[in-house]
């Protein structure tokens, strides 16, 4: 449990009425958020709620159209304090697993870079695949490699964009536990985007529910579950079922009301 003392209450990451429009179409509208150091925040929302845009803003890959985004008091610079994990792995096919991790560490001298890459490959259990090219790895291994690449940069902020959405159910559950284990070991701030209510409830300190077109903060929920999560399965917690039902209901409502959704207007009741 992180207790933020009033003296150091300035948040690590701050969105101040940040908006982003693409060619006149708003993707995110006036997002205001404060995220404390070492907080695990999950962004939950249907398609079109601007989750990816939000992470790109936090990474400094794009600048807000209006408003401000600040990481430790300054506009974020890509790769400076943050690292990103993508749904589609985004590995360099022409580099071995070790070289893929080392790619994120250009600032280190060669020997140190290699040692650091090996250390993080070991951390995610890929030591034996260090010399393999990505095509020889399974989906779960590829995502572990992508995670190792992000963690090896030793970022303060880890940005995860639906990282496990393309994995099968079993690999996904194992990866969720892996992320909790790794962030427990070396605490960092995590911004995690997902479609999955269960994933959000399992991982988050705080869930931020986003509504679509344009993306807005619809609701914030601080979860009452203890850390570390493997000490007590949150699914056994009395409030879990109620929270799950509530989040599902909100998501369902958003999807049914979104004219661009496949389920628009299909209200069974």
């Amino acid at each position: 449990m992180n207790l933020v003392s009033p003296a150091s209450s300035s948040p690590l990451l701050r969105f101040d009425r940040a908006s982003k429009t693409y060619g006149g179409r708003p993707a995110l509208a006036e997002i205001s958020l404060e995220i404390a150091a070492e907080e695990f925040v999950v962004f939950l929302g249907p398609s079109g709620c601007g989750k990816t845009t939000l992470l790109s803003l936090a990474a400094g890959l794009i600048a807000p159209s209006s408003g401000r985004v600040e990481l430790a008091g300054a506009p974020p610079v890509p790769g400076r304090r943050s690292a990103m994990v993508f749904q589609s792995f985004r590995l360099l096919a022409w580099k071995t697993a070790r070289e893929n991790v080392a790619f994120a560490l250009p600032h280190l001298p060669a020997a140190e870079r290699r040692a650091r890459a090996d250390r993080y490959l070991e951390l995610v259990g890929l030591t034996r695949a260090a010399e393999s090219y990505p095509r020889a790895l399974s989906g779960g291994m590829k995502q572990r490699l992508a995670l190792a690449r992000a963690l090896a940069a030793e970022p303060e902020v880890l940005l995860m964009d639906e990282p496990f959405a393309s994995l099968d159910a079993q690999a996904r559950e194992l990866m969720q536990q892996e992320v909790l284990r790794l962030t427990e070991r070396r605490p960092m701030t995590v911004l995690f985007v997902t479609h999955s209510v269960d994933e959000a409830l399992f991982l988050a300190d705080r869930i931020i529910l986003l509504s679509p077109r344009p993306g807005r903060v619809a609701e914030e929920i601080r979860l009452p579950f203890a850390r570390p999560r493997w000490a007590e399965d949150p699914r056994a917690h009395p409030e879990h079922a109620a929270l799950r039902a509530h989040l599902w209901e909100r998501l369902r409502e958003m999807v049914l009301k979104d004219p661009q959704s496949d389920f628009y207007g299909r209200d069974a009741t």
């Binding site: 990474a59 890509p78 943050s82 993508f86 360099l92 096919a93 022409w94 250009p106 095509r135």
Partner: protein, 250 residues
């Protein structure tokens, strides 16, 4: 099937078949047109001992190598710049396509007027033929760079140069190799064409000399030498390609 020796053995078989066909053609054709393999072999020995073959080979390889090397360097540079700076690429690509579609031999009279009949003109003719496929393939290869990988690289803090060296260029390598292979073929053709149309020299010069004086055994030696150059160059490029794309497996 599947034995590592199957393909080499089959190739030897085809070679034997070709030699047999050649021997048969030498007897069947009117006298003095197709030399026998034995006569060709003797002619090869004579040409080699007199030093003429080696000299011509050296001259041709110098023209071919210089033209192809310049085409590779300039073609990759231009193609990559066109691919990396989209407005530049858009502005130039129509003209490059137009030039690539014009038979480059059509420029020979102009090149001769500008550069004379010497080595410069020959190298330029080879260059002009070989540079087009290199430019076009480098252009397409760089344009095809994966935007998702570029975004990933940016998220690690990589700058333009690092993204280019580690993401764009390796992604374009298969295209570059195809361009170089086409360039190698066209370059060899243009080497001979240049040697025929400018001051006769090298293998092309000997081809004209022996062809025009009906010394068919010598003529065949030159023909086979050219085929051998083609095989060796293609094989070198194939090995380079294999090495560069080992990450793709198989």
């Amino acid at each position: 099937m599947g034995s590592p020796l199957t393909v080499p053995l089959m190739r030897l078989g085809v070679l034997g078949g070709l030699l047999a066909f050649w021997a048969w053609a030498a007897r069947a054709a009117p006298r003095g047109i197709v030399p026998t393999p034995a006569a060709t072999w003797e002619a090869a020995g004579r040409l080699w001992e007199s030093g003429r073959l080696a000299q011509a080979l050296g001259e041709s390889l110098a023209v071919y190598g210089a033209g192809l090397g310049l085409a590779a360097v300039a073609g990759i540079a231009v193609g990559v710049l066109m691919g990396a700076f989209r407005p530049l690429g858009r502005a130039l690509d129509v003209f490059v396509y137009a030039l690539a579609a014009t038979p480059r031999v059509a420029f020979i009279p102009l090149i001769v007027l500008l550069l004379g009949l010497g080595v410069e003109a020959k190298v330029f003719i080879v260059f002009l033929g070989a540079v087009m496929p290199v430019i076009l393939n480098a252009y397409v290869g760089v344009q095809n760079a994966d935007p998702e990988l570029i975004e990933m690289a940016r998220s690690t803090g990589a700058g333009r140069w690092r993204i280019f060296a580690h993401v764009v260029l390796p992604g374009a390598t298969p295209f570059l190799v195809v361009g170089l292979r086409l360039a190698a073929t066209i370059g060899l053709i243009n080497t001979v064409v240049a040697e025929l149309y400018t001051a006769a020299q090298g293998l092309g010069g000997l081809l004209a000399l022996y062809g025009n004086s009906f010394r068919m055994a010598e003529y065949f030696v030159i023909l086979l030498t050219l085929a051998l150059i083609g095989v060796v160059v293609t094989e070198i490029l194939r090995l380079a390609e294999k090495h560069l794309s080992r990450w793709r497996g198989e």
